[in-house]
């Protein structure tokens, strides 16, 4: 074998293209005669639409078409409810264009198609809508109260879902507890803010009857299925391509956004390609968001610090619609006990309609909120019991010999019982303490204090259920001319480096260089079956599917090569792009093996000519293609995980708080991370680092500022404080590799890991820094200077 590629820091195959500016994002795809779209969006959070007058817009030079709900035929419908759940009450989904009423600021009311985007915006500005504004309630707790203004008349009490899950006997645990802590925590709403906003382009070919859609989606196969169904086309006549996509973070996995239906419709009706390139303001107003939850969490403990019970009741803001079901709240509720044994759990949530854009999963998907709740509660328990924060966690961790650890009664988002599969939690905590210098921190803190500086230690642990099913597939083929390997899978990439890690997996099986493995994903013509990229699942689910498939191709290759080389199969090894007789200098290139594996081979080139010398002289006693065999060196296979696999980590930091300016500086940040076997540590670190940066955004900066009337006050990058590079500290990332026993590669997902613990770490650190000035509690993120100022004022500082 060549040097093993799995586990190596292989540079990303995709980078040269992207770094040279040769990526092809949707707006880069040349489409002759293309038309552009703009939407008229609601300026009101709740209003009745009395009338819409599009006459002036239609007459505007350059405007080609204007659509309202009356003009869109079958699309004048409520869009699909993707994941129903019995606990949901009156599930509501958006209509592509509003009919009669609007439910949030930014909701699409009309679509203008024009020769360019400028003209389309001019046209949208000429549409006159008469609204009857209705009252709104933005506060979730007040929205649940009787008499509160309703987001939907059909949804009394603004209650979208109510769900309780129980593990063990929580009431008994609380009855025998020696100490109980109860705190209330809040995480505010943020947005994924991908570098490339959403985008879609569509072309209808009336000759072939084919609809081609370029969609910056995380779920091309699902989008194809939906479009085919809604427009009554054969799936084979709909091709959905997710080309280079500049980040998704969950925001691009909702189907459908209005434009994803209306743009293909317009392309078919107008007979010209049509595109919609969402701008940043529209991304803030009209694309999914996530995070707001208010938790009331209680821990029942013994004096030793052992937590024997947990109760958590939380409100989850689902926005005006609930197309993705209860996924976010369900993930939060099933992650609430973190890495701790806590055998008795009662967790309840109410999902609440608010007159805002819908909430669907954003990187982390409920986990940051759950982590924030339980970790802040653990800190409080440690303080009340006089225990060290590291120590109390150690006492509660699931031990290495306790896996698989089941939480009977808690069903994860995949509908399966929460079962943590493997981990070395205590070891990770010890590594974090060492890397941070926790043992000397008290002295460092005192020394800093003497210089007028306030240092604090922040700590949080998290778990992450990853790699959700149901399945993905892989197709692997060795190309007969070049000997390069082509790999397809059904999900799509938004820049994570899938093409490199999938190539590494295949490289090891087939003995080729990773750069000679060409991965094509995100094109429904390349692979027919699959789910999507979300829930930190690509490496786990597609990775194992591709691994299984590559093993099959490896076997086929060895069989064919052994036949060509006239040796036994166990005498053949694959390396350096060829099949070798072990211990000799005899080999055939993979291209020749692939060529020879096709009984029909015209000698188009030298490789084919070379292959003909291996004509199966031995096989004249049957048809050229034996019964049950297939031409070529290729295979397709699937992987369906038995359950989610649980990654985890420990984050710790030293922060400095300036009581004068209320600035928080992260002086040191340590991340101990375990996602099982790492396919490519460099890509893992990139994922973790990106997640931590997003987590710092959520911890200190990013908050969507909805006004009492439902308007979003900071719908721009000037006002929405996404951290710059200047706000992100150096982070030390250390790895543990505890293989997952659930899949052949022993891998766990990593996509969301980085962001989960950051809010809890920062709040923990700030609280620790300022405790020297009085008892102040920080249980709300993002943690702003104003919160610190208010807290200092409350203790008379």
């Amino acid at each position: 074998m060549s040097t093993r590629s799995f586990g190596a820091r292989v540079e990303r195959n995709v980078d040269p293209k992207l770094l040279r500016g040769e990526g092809a994002f949707i707006d880069d795809i040349p489409l002759a005669n293309v038309l552009h779209t703009a939407f008229l969006r609601s300026p009101h959070a709740r209003a009745r639409i009395k009338s819409i007058d599009v006459r002036a817009a239609k007459q505007h030079p350059g405007v080609v078409a204007v659509y309202t709900c009356d003009d869109i035929g079958v699309l004048d419908m409520a869009m699909p409810l993707l994941i129903p759940h019995p606990c949901m009450k009156n599930p509501q989904t958006q209509r592509p264009l509003a009919r009669d009423e609007v439910h949030y600021v930014g909701q699409t009311i009309a679509m203008v198609v024009a020769v360019d985007r400028y003209t389309a915006e001019d046209g949208a500005g000429l549409i006159e809508v008469e609204y009857e504004p209705l009252p709104v309630e933005m506060d979730m707790e007040k929205a649940l109260a009787p008499g509160a203004p309703l987001v939907h008349e059909k949804a009394p009490g603004n209650l979208a879902a109510h769900f309780v899950q129980v593990c063990g006997k929580p009431d008994d645990a609380f009855a025998r507890a020696e100490h109980i802590v109860k705190i209330r925590v809040q995480v505010d709403r943020s947005t994924a803010a991908p570098m490339e906003c959403r985008a879609i382009a569509a072309r209808w070919d009336a000759v072939s009857g084919e609809l081609t859609v370029w969609d910056g989606t995380q779920a091309p196969i699902s989008v194809r299925g939906g479009l085919a169904s809604i427009f009554a086309l054969d799936e084979d006549k709909v091709r959905v391509i997710a080309p280079d996509v500049g980040g998704g973070f969950g925001q691009k996995v909702l189907f459908f956004y209005p434009d994803e239906l209306l743009v293909p419709m317009a392309a078919m009706q107008l007979g010209r390609p049509v595109k919609y390139i969402e701008d940043r303001r529209e991304n803030f107003l009209g694309s999914s968001q996530e995070r707001t939850q208010i938790h009331e969490i209680e821990l029942a403990a013994l004096k030793t610090g052992e937590v024997i019970g947990l109760r958590d009741s939380f409100l989850h803001d689902t926005g005006a619609y609930i197309p993705y079901g209860i996924a976010v709240a369900q993930v939060a509720s099933t992650s609430i006990a973190g890495p701790y044994r806590i055998p008795n759990i009662w967790v309840e949530f109410k999902a609440v309609y608010t007159p805002t854009v819908q909430v669907t999963p954003y990187r982390g998907c409920g986990r940051p909120q759950a982590c924030f709740a339980v970790e802040r509660a653990m800190d409080q328990l440690a303080e009340e019991l006089g225990l060290d924060r590291f120590e109390i966690r150690k006492r509660n961790f699931i031990g290495v010999d306790q896996f698989p650890y089941e939480r009977e009664g808690l069903l994860f988002a995949d509908g399966l019982k929460v079962t943590l599969d493997s981990g070395q939690y205590a070891k990770a905590l010890g590594m974090a303490a060492d890397a941070l210098g926790a043992s000397s921190f008290a002295a460092d803190q005192a020394a800093a204090r003497a210089e007028g500086k306030y240092l604090g230690l922040g700590l949080a642990c998290y778990v992450e259920g990853t790699g959700l099913g149901p399945y993905e597939g892989g197709h692997v083929r060795i190309h007969p001319i070049t000997g390069k390997v082509y790999v397809n899978t059904g999900l799509s990439t938004q820049g994570q480096g899938h093409d490199t890690v999938f190539a590494q997996i295949v490289s090891d099986q087939l003995g080729v260089k990773p750069e000679d493995v060409i991965v094509v994903e995100g094109d429904t013509k390349a692979f027919d079956w699959g789910v999507a990229t979300f829930a930190s699942r690509a490496a786990v689910v597609s990775g194992n599917a591709i691994h299984k498939t590559a093993i099959t191709v490896r076997k086929k290759t060895i069989t064919a090569a052994a036949n060509m080389l006239e040796v036994a199969e166990d005498e053949v090894e694959l390396r350096d792009g060829a099949a070798w007789v072990i211990g000799s200098n005899r080999f055939v290139p993979l291209a020749a093996v692939a060529t020879a594996s096709n009984p029909l081979r015209y000698a188009f080139n030298e490789a084919a000519q070379a292959a003909t010398q291996f004509a199966p002289a031995s096989k004249h006693d049957g048809p050229p293609l034996g019964e049950g065999t297939a031409p070529g060196l290729e295979a397709t296979d699937y992987y369906s995980p038995p359950a989610s696999t649980w990654a985890y980590g420990v984050h710790a930091a030293i922060v400095e708080v300036d009581p004068g300016t209320c600035a928080v500086k992260i002086r040191k940040y340590i991340c101990i991370h375990d996602c099982g076997n790492m396919i490519n540590p460099m890509i893992v670190e990139g994922q973790v680092m990106g997640g931590i940066a997003q987590g710092i955004g959520g911890a200190l900066y990013e908050r969507l500022d909805y006004q009492p009337d439902g308007n979003l006050a900071n719908a721009s990058f000037m006002d929405f404080l996404m951290p710059y590079a200047t706000e992100i500290p150096d982070v030390k990332i250390l790895h543990l590799e505890t293989p997952s026993p659930l899949n052949p590669l022993g891998v766990k997902g990593v996509g969301e890991a980085g962001c989960i613990a950051v809010g809890a770490v920062v709040a923990s650190g700030v609280e620790d820094a300022l405790k020297q000035l009085g008892p102040m509690k920080f249980r709300h993120v993002p943690l702003t200077p104003t919160m610190i100022s208010d807290a200092l004022e409350s203790v008379g500082h």
């Binding site: 985007r117 400028y118 915006e121 001019d122 500005g125 701008d279 940043r280 303001r281 300036d658 004068g660 300016t661 209320c662 600035a663 900066y701 908050r703 500022d705 006050a713 900071n714 721009s716 000037m718 404080l721 951290p723 710059y724 200047t726 706000e727 702003t784 200077p785 104003t786 610190i788 100022s789 208010d790 200092l792 004022e793």
Partner: protein
């Protein structure tokens, strides 16, 4: 986020530019475009005509004169920041410029454009106010000089008349032996300040403040000289008690209302901390004989 239809002219002379500006009440002057163009993309500003002054003769360059630095209308922030003669004459300028947005924005944005935009949290208006500088406005009626405190009238508003172009800004150079300091509180590096304070002072032989200029921005609808604090500190030893009094006198000047990123009480806290720190730092620099 595409602008509505607008006209565009690129005059070569100041007279041409002023004539164009005077002939269209909805025309706007385009210099670096770092505030105007985003506002147009949001359709918050919809000028009928953009008069691009980058080709106008005589609007480029910085002159370091005996007791002032003259910055003409097309001088980019980055030029002001990096000019060695500017840095030698008044090192505070280089220090302040580090806080102005980010390098790509400083490469395009102009000093005078920022003054004309008059964001009450921006650094350039504060600097002009702190140093007691002025601008030169030229219009159909000729040229006039407008002092900083008269120029900034309110939030995004100045005393410039619609038909005038600000052709230069004049930043007085602090007297020999002065120490100066500037800092600001922002949520992120490069953002507009939630509170910013600049201080220039000289010390007498008894180590007391012989002269002191103190200004703040981010706290009101325009940058402010902290005159009460200046009066209290002048002639004082700048002891803790003196600083306490100066801070106390300045806090009522915070009139920005509560907003998402900063409550009034937080702004007051930050203003107080900055006043103390900047006065102490400026005094240390004056004492050490190195202005920075």
């Amino acid at each position: 986020m595409k602008p509505s239809l607008f006209g565009y002219r690129a005059p070569k002379t100041l007279d041409e530019a002023i004539t164009m500006l005077a002939s269209d009440a909805d025309a706007a002057v385009l210099a670096g475009g770092q505030s105007l163009l985003p506002a147009m993309n949001f359709r918050l500003a919809n000028p009928s005509l953009l008069i691009d002054i980058q080709h106008v003769e005589g609007l480029r360059g910085i002159s370091v004169e005996k007791d002032r630095i003259v910055v003409r209308a097309m001088v980019r922030h980055r030029e002001f920041e990096l000019d060695p003669a500017v840095r030698a004459a008044n090192p505070l300028i280089h220090e302040v410029m580090q806080h102005v947005a980010h390098v790509p924005i400083r490469n395009r944005g102009t000093v005078v454009g920022s003054l004309c935009h008059a964001d009450p949290s921006a650094e350039m208006p504060l600097l002009l106010t702190l140093l007691g500088g002025s601008v030169i406005a030229q219009g159909p009626q000729g040229r006039r000089e407008i002092g900083a405190e008269e120029f900034f009238t309110s939030f995004l508003s100045t005393a410039r008349r619609q038909d005038e172009i600000i052709v230069e800004a004049r930043f007085p150079t602090p007297r020999a032996g002065a120490g100066a300091a500037f800092d600001e509180v922002t949520r992120r590096h490069g953002d507009y300040a939630l509170a910013a304070v600049g201080c220039v002072l000289t010390l007498d032989a008894q180590d007391k403040a012989a002269t002191i200029q103190l200004a703040a921005s981010g706290i009101a609808d325009k940058p402010l000289r902290l005159k009460g604090a200046e009066a209290l500190l002048k002639g004082s030893a700048l002891a803790t008690g003196d600083l306490d009094a100066a801070v106390k006198a300045s806090l009522p000047l915070v009139t920005q209302s509560d907003e998402a990123n900063a409550s009034v009480s937080f702004r007051r806290r930050a203003l107080g901390a900055l006043i103390r720190r900047m006065v102490v730092k400026a005094a240390e620099r004056a004492r050490s004989g190195s202005p920075q």
